[in-house]
Symmetry: C2
Subunit: 410 residues, 2 copies
């Protein structure tokens, strides 16, 4: 049975949501608990109500829209996050919020009350773009994975705690545990792909069967600052030269392993960062990912060994922490199969694939059977105002989501 | 004839001058035309007067102390700069101001009026630590190398023009040309070595016969930002990977050429500089030095060729400017010989050497016969509060300077 969704409505939702925190022509700058974030969540709540959903705001500011089923019992939920990179685009996160809303609205209008309760959710925070240590705040609250004291401990770049930011929008950080859920049985997140795989294959939609494991190393390499002219090359302890060798080495590991291994050095901080001085200290990140748990462990071991060996040979001190360390997440085969059936039934060109990016779905997997639907990203761009997903592709992904929810809930 | 200098007085000068702009235990933060700079120049003027020198402030704020000779005619001058890195130590620049002051005071006290006029000078600016494009401001004014309009054009990091900063300390930027001199025949600058060569050789003093050529490249490498997980390795245009390869290559050129070639990458700016994103853009400096003009040209050509080739192979856009491009400066053989005679006569352990750092002396060479005297630096450190030169080494270098000035002026 073909399930149509109103593509014009999806386009309108995207455009109107992007007004909150608009940045330049096409960008969005909407960090957790900011005034523009608050306005965006109010907008979503209004749209939920308009679609006939029962609106509820939980203790961390996730906004829920509920379509109560005929049977009491476990819930099937779908959604994504409302916060953005700084700046980000208008699709990352937002399209999953809009897709779940449009799917439930469509199902409600066409099929009425479901057998199982359906819920749509706009999660408060995923990107860690304001609070570096807070990513997945929304799904961590739902899955009771926020430790006591964390709200007061986690600070934004201006030193404001997430607890203070919550209070500023009327939320009580003491009540974080109240956001926990135990009744969600199935979770499906729609999201833009953020990569070029679907575009390269000429497909609109991806059904995600695994989410990559991600480790972020923050590496500190310490040498000795010297005058760039007065200190001969011999005897230098140059952390920049060591850094360069490490970048080539860790990226080389991913290249040698081949797809889907990826490794990125995206952030560097140099001290004193002067043209005429050998640096004292280079601090940088290494982001290393693979969707297979065993392969990922080997990749990390090889990269750590190379970093240590390079530093030692050059007489540099090296140390690192891993502030982000997410194991790969395998999706539920039943939910994946339902999405594949939906794709075929709706005649949407799709493929199974893994996600190279991390998602709230990884956390939801602690309490529910999960899977994801990807919509094609133009040029594979994301985390930039330039990210773009066509209305057609957004509607196709929403139809696959709606059809799967229909099979599972009606 | 042995010329003694008062080591205790030198020590006292160093300690008292370091109070102006004191930074932490041993550091100095004294940028051009700041209140602490003004206080330091007033202090030097008072010491000049105390030593029996005629004090004069020129149009850019260089402070001069003159010991008029019996003969009218060309002047023999010595000095260095009063400004510091941010933060720097208490010796870079300052010790040359103090050394010239102590030498003239000693000669005046012991030998009275010279045949030729002697001048000591405390130059206003050398480090470009406040006005990035203004280095050698003092010696450029003396050698009439400041272009009309420059004072209004050159800004500090807060957007204040050097003209405005001059006005704020009572100087008229319109009068910059008045600081020009045409009567200086000989220039000798005493300075700390800033490198480890003298320490490694167990020598107190260096007689400098050449100053290295220096080119600063500011290189921009542009690729395409992508999600660190969703974009496979293949197809990335990663300027960080290209940057790493370039750092290894340009440093490799200096290593392969051997001493005294040096190359340093000291400053990097990455956009967007996020752990989870392939960067769009990496901007970095390459500082490449050699004291031999022909060898330096070959070194630069080889480094440029490698940078272009690496960028091209990786599909990255590359471009660069060279905001600093100082040719090597050969010192005057007669002045060098006078300093060597002085070193032997004073029984100071010394060697001839080149300077790997740039100095005001490079500019003074446009109008005068020049050479330099280096004092040993502990651990070769400079441009840091940790820089240190012992009172003994400072006194030894001052004795060599004083003896050479005695030979030339009396």
């Amino acid at each position: 049975m073909r399930i149509d969704v109103d593509a014009g409505l999806i386009e309108q939702y995207v455009r109107e949501l992007a007004r909150h925190g608009a940045h330049g022509e096409t960008g969005v700058w909407r960090t957790a608990y900011s005034p523009e974030w608050l306005a965006a969540q109010e907008q979503v709540a209004a749209w939920y109500a308009e679609a006939g959903l029962e609106v509820r705001r939980d203790a961390v500011g996730n906004v829920w829209g509920r379509l109560a089923g005929e049977q009491a019992g476990p819930v099937i939920a779908s959604g994504s996050h409302i916060d953005s990179q700084t700046p980000g685009g208008r699709y990352d996160g937002a399209l999953g919020v809009i897709g779940a809303l449009a799917a439930l609205r469509t199902l409600h209008e066409r099929f009425g009350r479901p057998r199982c309760t359906l819920e749509a959710v706009s999660l408060c925070e995923e990107e860690a773009s304001r609070f570096h240590a807070a990513n997945f705040w929304g799904s961590r609250a739902i899955t009771k994975s926020i430790a006591p004291g964390e709200p007061e401990r986690i600070l934004d770049f201006d030193g404001v705690s997430i607890a203070a930011a919550m209070r500023a929008v009327g939320l009580d950080p003491e009540r974080v545990p109240d956001a926990g859920r135990h009744d969600i049985e199935t979770w499906i997140e729609l999201h833009i792909e953020q990569g070029p795989v679907l575009e390269a294959a000429g497909l609109q939609v991806g059904v995600v069967d695994a989410i990559t494991g991600i480790r972020h190393y923050v590496v500190e390499l310490v040498g000795r600052s010297d005058h760039a002219g007065a200190r001969p090359m011999e005897g230098r302890l140059d952390p920049m030269a060591g850094f360069a060798e490490i970048v080539s080495a860790v990226i080389g590991v991913a290249l040698e392993m081949g797809p889907p291994a990826v490794t990125t050095v995206g952030r560097v901080h140099v001290e004193p960062n002067l043209p005429g001085a050998v640096p004292d200290r280079v601090v940088f990140t290494v982001d290393s990912r693979h969707p297979d748990p065993q392969t990922l462990a080997g990749q990390h071991a090889q990269q750590e060994q190379l970093m240590r060996a390079i530093a030692e040979r050059r007489g540099l001190e090296i140390s690192w922490s891993t502030p982000l360390d997410l194991p790969p997440c395998l999706c539920d085969s039943g939910v994946v199969a339902a999405l594949e059936r939906a794709g075929r039934e709706q005649d949407v060109p799709f493929r199974r694939m893994h996600s190279g990016a991390g998602h709230d779905t990884q956390n939801m997997a602690r309490i529910a059977k999960v899977a994801m639907v990807f919509a094609r990203s133009e040029g594979g761009r994301s985390h930039t105002p330039a990210e773009f997903t066509s209305v057609d592709d957004a509607a196709a992904a929403t139809r696959v989501l709606a059809a799967a929810l229909h099979e599972l809930a009606y």
